[in-house]
Amino acid sequence: MTLPIANIEVLYPLMFACAWGLLVLTVEMFSLSRRFVGIGWLSALGLAAVAGISLSGQGAGEVFAGAVALDAFSVYFYVLLSVLAIFAVFLSMDYVPLAGIIHGEFYPLILFAVAGLLVMVSATDLIVMFLGLETMSMAVYVLAGIRKDELRSNEAALKYFLLGAFASALLLYGIALIYAITGSTVLGSVANAIASTDYLAADSLVLMLGVGMLLAGFAFKIAAVPFHLWTPDVYEGAPTTVSAFMATAVKAGAFAALLRIVLVALAPVMPDLSWLMWVLAASTMTMGNFVALRQTNVKRMLAYSSIAHTGYLLVGVTAATAEAGAAVLYYLAAYGVMNIGAFGVLAALTRRRHALQEISDFAGLGQNRPVLALVMSICMLSLMGMPPLAGFVGKFYLFTAALEAGYTVLVVIAVLNSVVSAAYYLGVLRAMYFQSADAEEYSPRPYLNFAVTAAAAVTVALGLAPSPVMGAASRAFSSIILGP
């Protein structure tokens, strides 16, 4: 019996992430401070190392035992996820004590969630991907409910867990059906089986049913209509920095896995299903934007905004060309950074035991805390699609790619949607600059302030100079498309 350790370098980033999670878990047990700032630093350091290792390890050998690949696609997402997680960690370093979270396991759980995400984005086997998804989900279920004495936090964890478990079952059954027809769960083999076999009608039906259920499972994770209902409740109830992590890193990971499946394993059947993706994309963005208009709670508003952005991203998945795929990758980065900034400002306004989330709570921010207000403005404007910020460039890439692929009506719907979205993002700006309120005393929040300022700066930078990231996104995406 031989162990397939020939190119174990492929696993280094993953192994490092898991090992670092264990290390942080161990160190945390001996932590003297209840603020866990040192633990936060340690976690951030490890995440930075993950990004570094994956950047340096690229090309060492692409695939490990048909299970995991360290191609450019994986590296892109390893770095993106690490960066987003570092942001989340920095936000948490001030937020955790503020919110009264007394469990030092917070940081190791973030690291394990990242490890699960890393597996998801680099898995080339459906089952490995499923395991990564579950690892990540377990950690996030717990993180959502980590404020045990908070009813809302409880409820968020419970809803996320029940719906997540249900969605996992659907996903798994979908994998079972695909396995039944193709005899494999390895993405490449699945694709070959689908492409090579001349199916009987019944077989293709089972396959399509499997694909449908698989898509339903993923639609849940990325919060696409009608599988989106958990999103606002969970984002609202979960600790703000966990919501930030979920809205950005988890969504990016789920989209990465979806792209790999849809565009590698299922590439032969996707043309038959593009109408379905079309409907999903259109209904998701319309639903998200329309309901967001009616939200007065900023966290819920951001949740619906995140649903709307799922819709925009699905436009790219629908188009399914190389340009569209690269655009989705770029948009995930842009969206991640600007959204983490927005959630971060929300976290920065936390008062102990008081959920500061209503739009009216932003009143007077422009006067009282100009830097935070500026950061929030940049993030809101970018989410709205205001040039030259990252959100605009991302939409530009996405929509032009979809146009080239011939989805004119969908692009028109998307552009009209972004008009509607301006109204609710503007509500926050209006509260900050056109309403006044008395200044409040805040404790110093250096990490939070640093993180949100950095997020805003990156949002601007990604908008002004998108080429490096877009170039990486193009290379990443082309690395997963099977060669002729």
Binding site: L131, V142, L151, L158, F161, L162, A176
Partner: protein, 100 residues
């Protein structure tokens, strides 16, 4: 003669029954047990396919799914427990603080 198709059809029925349980029951523990039923339906499908096609991988997959089910049970029941401590209820109808 009983073919793998019989098992597959049975698994579909079990899956559907599980999904009914998830939706119509109010007791969180029972909802969760219904999810376990759905996972088991998937397992049956994997084993049946493995047998029908002579592929061992299906059995390995079941091994992993069991692990997932066990892990989900641990976390899920802990979530329910934490919830119960605060609200003294496991009825899904009583949990609607977060909405709209």
């Amino acid at each position: 003669m009983v073919t793998p198709n019989h098992y597959l059809a049975l698994s579909a029925v079990l899956f559907a029954i599980g999904s009914i349980g998830v939706v119509v029951r109010r007791n969180l523990v029972i909802i969760f047990m219904s999810v376990e039923l759905m996972l088991n339906a998937a397992n049956l499908a994997f084993v049946a396919v493995a047998y029908g096609r002579g592929l061992m991988s299906g059995q390995s997959i079941v091994f992993f799914v069991m692990t997932v089910a066990a892990a989900e049970a641990a976390v899920g029941l802990a979530v329910i427990l934490a919830m119960f401590r605060n609200r003294q209820t496991v009825n899904a109808d009583d949990i609607a603080l977060l909405r709209w």
